[in-house]
């Protein structure tokens, strides 16, 4: 059911600006999408290797530097395409609901 949605949401969250992995987790938890953190890391690595994400090392006040993720140009392009797909999907669902009632 959630196929591909998680990737879409992660891209959406990152599109708002440079963000740290545990903050992404916090957002996903708020959206009740992610139950455990461990699944996020392979996903981020995959998106990064696909060229949609990149990251910067940012010094932190407590402990070693942290990875901050941001979207690349390709990432933005894909996100636009996903937006269109999502709108098409929701349009289809909305119209289905409306015609039913």
């Amino acid at each position: 059911m959630r196929k591909g949605i998680l990737e879409y949401c992660v891209l959406l969250i990152i599109s708002k600006g440079e963000i740290y992995a545990s903050d992404i987790i916090a957002e996903l938890k708020k959206a009740k999408l992610l139950v455990v953190e461990g699944t996020l890391y392979p996903l981020l690595t995959r998106l990064k290797n696909n060229g949609l994400l990149s990251y910067n090392w940012v010094e932190s006040t407590s402990g070693p530097p942290r990875k901050y993720y941001l979207l690349t140009a390709e990432g933005k392009e894909i996100l636009n395409k996903l937006d269109i797909t999502w709108m098409e999907l929701s349009y289809a669902i909305e119209t289905s609901k409306q015609t039913k009632s």
């Binding site: 407590s62 942290r66 999907l89």
Partner: protein
């Protein structure tokens, strides 16, 4: 009271209780195993470890404590998720995200995974079958009047090469998720069209031929290397077994045969061992080199190979030492002659007598006293170890004093003159006269366990002018001593006569 450990996780030093440490290690190992199939496993696991370290630091800070306990680790694992949770997440991958990125599958040639032009691997991607099956199919079809070659060439020309990243992605379709996705699609397409134009069919053909030659060459070297490994190992094993057998039974027969019968018993064993080392180590080196070619890896390290070199040099030096020692046994030469007068007849018949006279040692050796041999003579005993090398010469000369004589000259080599003379004296040669019949033995005999020191017997038969000699056929064994074959008389015994000028052939 609990034991605590200091661990370094995600570049942070954390103090942790022992049972908590056990649990954490188990958990991390599970995670490592789960992601080990993933190409990016190292990065993923590092990210997870970093996050765990961060959680630990937060816990220590918030609860104002020094040590991570088992409860903390359980909390972290619950938050991070178990391997089972990851598996569920893996199943949820794909969907609209993948569809948005991946295109429809198209047929291209995959030049990144090509033996010739990538036709087979392209077909493999298209049909979602491993490329090797198409390769096998084409290989088999080559044997049917080469029809596969034509088909292959046509496909080569017709199917375009997957040049751009997007083309490669189209070629692989959904089979490979997102790998190699278009980076600046238009830009790259423009760039690659230039390259595509410059790569004509013939450029590709030349490259393909080069690739085939390289592959064949590599295969050839590997086959040769394998042959060397197998043959070398067999040879080495045979030598090892041979030496073991020899050293185990050195008092048995083999040392009575040439060339082992040259070497003194005292150092025969060590000499054989030295030879073994000098010969076996190059074979080992050859096999090791072949292993390196075949497997692209060193079988032994430098120290061991250096050790082998030292041992080999030792073996070679020892071998040379023994060879010189044996050679010194041939330094001096000694000879002596014995003349015996034969009963006078007008004509003699010379025959070869293969039967042997037995010494006392022989009687023991062959158990002559037993019933088995009573009343028997051993004939044609060619298997006898004293056969080789046989050094008996026969000269036939004119007698000046009217007497018929046979001179037997024994000669031998030795370390000293005395030794050489003693060797010469120990030569036993059988000759007998039965009226006008002269029996010559084809070989000289040495005492048992006497070493070969180039012992020779030279016989000189002197007969007066006018005496006839009939040479039995087998006498051709001595044919190098005089011109035996000039008397062309096939089948019948050769008849000769002594003249003033020497031995002449007479037609009977």
């Amino acid at each position: 009271m609990k034991k605590t450990l200091n661990i370094n996780i995600g570049n942070s030093i954390i103090l942790i209780e022992e049972d908590a440490y056990e649990m954490l290690t188990g958990y991390l190992n599970e995670i490592k195993f789960h992601f080990s199939k993933n190409a990016d496993h190292f990065e993923i696991v590092t990210d997870i470890e970093n996050r765990i370290a961060e959680m630990f630091r937060e816990m220590l800070l918030q609860q104002q404590k020094q040590v991570i306990g088992i409860d903390d680790v359980q909390l972290v694992i619950a938050q991070m998720g178990s391997v089972k949770d990851f598996e569920n997440a893996d199943e949820a991958e794909g969907g609209i995200y993948e569809e948005t990125i991946s295109g429809v599958k198209k047929l291209y040639r995959d030049t990144d995974d090509a033996y010739i032009a990538g036709v087979c691997s392209g077909l493999g991607h298209y049909a979602n079958i491993e490329a090797k099956w198409f390769r096998l199919m084409f290989l088999v079809s080559f044997f049917f009047a080469g029809s596969g070659i034509v088909v292959y060439l046509i496909m080569w020309i017709l199917i375009p090469r997957a040049a751009t990243r997007s083309q490669r992605m189209y070629m692989k379709g959904e089979a490979v998720n997102l790998h190699g996705f278009i980076r600046n699609f238009e830009e790259e397409l423009a760039g690659n069209q230039l390259i595509s134009r410059s790569r004509g069919f013939f450029v590709e053909l030349a490259e393909a031929v080069g690739r085939i030659v390289r592959t064949l060459g590599k295969t050839f070297f590997k086959v040769v290397a394998w042959l060397i490994i197998i043959l070398g190992s067999c040879f080495f094993l045979a030598m090892l077994v041979g030496m073991a057998v020899f050293l185990g039974f050195s008092d048995a027969n083999p040392n009575e045969y040439f060339p082992l019968n040259i070497v003194n018993d005292a150092y025969l064993s060590s000499m054989v061992f030295a030879f073994f080392v000098a010969l076996a180590i190059p074979i080992i080196a050859l096999v090791l080199f072949a292993i390196r070619v075949a497997f692209n890896s060193r079988a032994i390290n430098r120290t061991v190979s250096f050790g082998l070199l030292v041992v080999w040099l030792g073996g070679v030096m020892l071998s040379i030492f023994y060879i010189t020692k044996v050679a010194s046994e041939f330094k001096e030469e000694a000879e002596f002659s014995q003349v015996r007068e034969l009963k006078k007849y007008d004509a003699y018949t010379l025959t070869l007598d293969r039967s042997r006279f037995f010494s006392r040692a022989d009687s023991v050796k062959y158990q002559i006293n037993s019933d088995k041999y009573r009343g028997k003579v051993i004939l044609n005993d060619m298997d006898d170890p004293y056969n080789l090398p046989r050094n008996v010469r026969l000269n036939i000369e004119k007698s000046e004093n009217g007497l018929v004589t046979l001179t037997q000259n024994n000669s031998s080599h030795g370390k000293t003159f005395e030794a050489a003379l003693s060797h010469a004296q120990n030569i036993h040669y059988d000759f007998s006269q039965q009226d006008s019949l002269l029996n010559f033995s084809p070989f000289l005999q040495l005492n048992r366990n006497t070493k070969w020191r180039d012992q020779e017997v030279t016989l000189t038969l002197k007969v007066p002018v006018g005496v006839k000699l009939i040479l039995n056929e087998e006498m051709d064994l001595f044919s190098y001593s005089f011109d035996y074959w000039s008397c062309e008389d096939h089948g019948a015994p050769k008849a000769w006569v002594m003249t003033e000028e020497g031995l002449k052939c007479t037609k009977p």
